[in-house]
Assembly symmetry: C2
Homo-oligomer: 319 residues x 2
């Protein structure tokens, strides 16, 4: 069965959709500014479960995933639209209001104005389409397609936490605020991800990065997306991967922890590449250098204790 990615590739080819393929589309706004824009569809029982999350969390996440795409372009979010199809059993409850409250709280932090959208009834599941637009100086948007061999590969934070949170929710069946601290942090990493808007902007402003993508599908898939767009390959060092520190508290097997860090989706950290001259300043701040870009087009090598393995794109965002 074909993946979302393959269907998109088919459409892009058949209908020559040139603007599609990065975290956001980049469109000219005025003589000094480009508009970047993204849409993310979240479907109940594919992307989230109602019983797991408070409505406020779902509203937060709907905006956060799109803000993360804006962050990956190094852009400043400005306005948003929100379309929701709401099932009958939630229609006259406080659900919609609480959902918007969660959305709105995050929007205020990032000064995003809600300018439009649609509300419809749904015969079955809750479906949300989150659209966010941002601005970036003309020509300065950071793309996926501009990584060069020799560049270092960096991530902005720890990996695997959101996927571990998903496992905990799946075992537990609901969001339990009385879980031990480590588990709660993992669950909140899944339910209330933090989009790295300021970090994305900072990296773009200081012209430190050569390419960027957000980690929504999981490292193994997202590094493939970036490499395919850039026409390059990559080498990832397992010993350098910042596996989420909370994972040790809940997952005994080191192999399983590594699996989550490599393939677990929805951490919404930024994955970026940078030329050698910036390595030390980037490492001395917040960022983890996990590998390097190679000229082996489309091949992702995983370095495990001196051995080289091939890393297939096994990321998952949907459960």
């Amino acid at each position: 069965m074909s993946s979302e990615f393959e269907v998109l590739e088919m459409l892009r080819r058949k209908f020559s959709l040139e603007k599609i393929g990065d975290d956001c589309a980049v469109l000219p706004k005025d003589s000094e500014t480009d508009l970047v824009i993204t849409a993310d569809m979240l479907v109940e029982d594919i992307d989230f479960r109602l019983e797991w999350a408070k409505p406020e969390f779902i509203g937060h996440k709907a905006l956060a995933v799109s803000l993360s795409d804006i962050a990956a372009m190094g852009a400043d979010p400005t306005w948003a639209m929100l379309s929701i199809a709401v099932p009958e059993h939630l229609w006259d409850t406080k659900f919609i209001e609480k959902f918007y409250r969660g959305w709105h709280k995050l929007a205020k932090i990032h000064k995003v104005e809600l300018v439009g959208g649609d509300i419809s009834r749904s015969p079955d599941n809750l479906v949300i389409d989150s659209i966010v637009a941002g601005e970036v100086p003309k020509g300065a948007a950071v793309l996926r397609s501009t990584a060069k061999p020799g560049d270092g590969i960096f991530v902005t934070g720890e990996l695997g936490g959101a996927a571990a949170g998903l496992k905990i929710l799946d075992d537990w069946g609901w969001y339990n605020p009385d879980l031990p601290r480590e588990k709660l942090q993992l669950v909140e990493k899944q339910l209330k991800p933090i989009p790295h808007v300021s970090i994305g902007k900072l990296l773009r402003k200081n012209a430190l990065v050569s390419a960027m993508i957000d980690l929504s599908d999981g490292l193994s898939s997202d590094i493939h997306h970036l490499c395919r767009s850039s026409g390059v390959g990559a080498k990832i060092y397992v010993r350098k991967l910042p596996v989420d520190a909370n994972l040790t508290a809940v997952i005994k097997s080191p192999a399983e922890r590594l699996e989550l860090a490599l393939n677990g989706g929805e951490d919404f950290e930024l994955l970026f590449t940078a030329p050698k001259k910036y390595f030390s300043s980037l490492e001395s701040t917040l960022f983890y250098r996990i590998g390097e870009i190679t000229p082996n087009v489309g091949t992702i090598e995983l370095m495990v204790r001196g051995e080289t393995r091939i890393l297939p794109p096994r990321g998952y965002r949907h459960f």
Copy 2:
């Protein structure tokens, strides 16, 4: 049970959403141009049925409903985004490709470029979110909120056809190309509406109109939306209503035909108001003058053979 409109009103009030309430949001683009943008969510079994329509028709309609909103602002469509949640049983069929083909054919006519969107799986129904942006000279977008007492009320075409088409589809159960001509035209009015982009632009360019909205929910509801936004009332003359000529072939009762013209949704004609000095030139071209704006805030009077009745907002877009 509260309506979509009431939920939207609640959110607008609670979260002070000033940009929401017209066919499109109007946003500054550059020193000479405004950006207008709209989102429409179409849900299977609420807005359409798969068994009624070829995938191409659903793609066409998804774009057409949003283009109609752009038309109602007098704007020029420029780019679009499309998010779809696709049920398992359609995923590996040709459905998605055919759907996009219908979308793309209409997009080419209006020179609309697809710049982004999302594709997701859906555990149940097909859900589509259609986003279209357009451009209009700064400050020139035609709003709902600027009708004045004394203005005439006009529609760009015949009414009730799309709703009659819906009835035929409901009786027949599928799109049958061998139906008699009148019925087929009604069915196609429902399945393949024509957005009046050129007409909207023409009216705006010649500065003939004082306010405009597209007839998506049905005349009785949409005239209420326009009057509420403008802080006015309206008087509609039944004898002047252009009831779709094909209705006589399929609906015997004149009262039922009138009911469809007043409350039937999805004709996607434009409803606009214009000052008296333009009446003759507007009537001598294509447009039907069906009534006039009054100072009776929020009251819509229906004039039937010299009698005055109150017209409640009974439009329906969803079946």
